[in-house]
């Protein structure tokens, strides 16, 4: 909790760049940059959400029928895994804020393990869908649907969860990067902007899933 007595040793390589007046200004600029990046991410996923709402409106019966092929339990487990990983990510940022290197590294490791857990569950879900012939476009070979456009639902499903999964994979790489830097002793109360930035990104990945889960698995 308390900063160590020899503050000069904290984040030894950190300095305020010459184009910033203060460390606060430098930190705020970095954080605003991340927020602006997150806006582009929101609008990027927004196109897919827009497609989801349009096709759901056009092919409502198909969406309702097709969404019963998704495993609610697996989706709910993955939701819990991601929410827990958001908690550990937030705690990792907090640990960096209070100069607790061991806890920062520990929480980041737990976050990465959760991310892998999410991908493992996703792998089993995809495997099942592919086995059932539910891939998009010409690869949709499943039979026995009573509504005319079940393939559209699975095309939207694969595109949205696939791009979200890609963000999880990228997130693993980013968390690994700050984990190694934290191990090296780069971060402290003086300087933890990369931890905060990766944390914000990881929370956004969680946010997107918070919408994906009910829309795809629960409502259809």
């Amino acid at each position: 909790m308390s900063a160590s007595a020899n503050d000069e040793k904290l984040s030894p390589d950190f300095h305020v760049a010459h184009h910033f007046d203060t460390a606060d200004q430098q930190f705020d600029s970095a954080r605003m940059g991340i927020w602006l990046f997150l806006v582009t991410e929101i609008l990027f996923f927004g196109g897919l959400f827009c497609a989801f709402f349009i096709y759901r409106s056009w092919y409502f019966s198909s969406f309702v029928e097709a969404h019963h092929h998704l495993d609610k339990v697996m989706g709910a487990v993955n939701t819990c895994v991601l929410i827990f990983s958001s908690l550990t990510m937030a705690l990792a940022v907090r640990s960096a804020q209070v100069n607790d290197k061991a806890k920062t590294v520990g929480f980041l490791i737990v976050t990465i393990l959760c991310a892998f857990g999410f991908l493992v569950v996703k792998y089993f879900e995809y495997q099942h869908k592919i086995h059932d012939g539910l891939l998009p476009g010409v690869h949709f070979t499943a039979q026995g649907f009573s509504s005319p456009h079940p393939g559209t639902f699975f095309a939207v499903y694969f595109m949205m969860t696939g791009i979200h999964g890609l963000h999880v994979i990228i997130g693993i790489g980013l968390i690994l990067w700050i984990l190694l830097r934290a191990q090296r002793g780069d971060f402290s109360a003086r300087y933890y902007a990369p931890v905060e930035g990766v944390g914000l990104y990881w929370h956004l990945v969680d946010l997107v899933w918070i919408y994906l889960f009910p829309l795809l698995y629960l409502v259809g």
Binding site: L36, Y192, L207
Partner: protein, 213 residues
């Protein structure tokens, strides 16, 4: 560590705003609670409200994550505005796209019933438009000059057909013509020959009977 005794001195170090552990665990508990609620709600059919309930709960969870985990509650308001503007423009994007996709096919039934003749686009509308076409033949310069401003109401929505429309339309146009023929009345007042007006008005259209071209 007290959360609010920041020492943001000029030239000093950044002083982080550290939340207590309880804040993070309470946030996590709230997120799990709403996850259970939204899963539970999915087993109950609320009809068309299903989607709304799911989106409202998800937005509640997203707000909690943004406020605590992403520190927006304790952050510069500018960062909240950045996120809020993203939400606003996302809403505009989705809503305005769906204004289109949700109304496709509505116009086709109308144009199928009363197709527009693009060589003479004012033909086939109201009695007044018919009269206008008789007065100002296609290609006539006066159509362009007199179009919307000089003769009022050229672009009016066609009058609804009524049972009384037919006898009035076949009758000679006079200033006393009643509401459904008021179009031709104003045309007559604008200095037209009544012969051409009555000729066109006698072919008064109705929404149920498409004009022949």
């Amino acid at each position: 560590m007290s959360s609010h005794d920041h020492g943001h001195a000029i030239g000093g170090d950044h002083v982080p705003h550290v939340l207590p552990y309880a804040a993070y665990f309470a946030t996590w508990g709230a997120l799990m609670f709403f996850t259970i609620i939204t899963v539970g709600a999915s087993y109950v059919n609320f009809g068309p409200a299903n989607l709304l309930i799911a989106v409202v709960i998800a937005t509640l969870k997203a707000t909690i994550v943004a406020a605590i985990f992403m520190h927006l509650w304790f952050d510069h308001r500018m960062h909240s505005m950045i996120l809020g503007s993203a939400g606003l423009f996302l809403a505009i994007f989705i809503a305005f796209t769906m204004f289109d996709t949700e109304s496709r096919g509505h116009l086709e039934s109308i144009t199928g019933e009363r197709p527009a003749d693009m060589s003479n686009p004012f033909l086939g509308g109201s009695a007044r438009q018919k009269a206008m076409n008789a007065l100002y033949p296609v290609g006539s310069n006066s159509v362009k000059l007199s179009a919307p401003g000089i003769v009022p109401g050229v672009f009016d929505v066609p009058a609804a057909p009524s049972a009384s429309a037919a006898p009035e339309a076949s009758a000679t146009v006079s200033p006393e013509a009643s509401a459904s023929a008021s179009a031709s009345a104003s045309v007559a007042a604008s200095g037209s020959t009544s012969a051409s007006v009555s000729g066109s008005v006698s072919a008064a259209p109705s929404a149920s009977a498409p004009p022949k071209h």
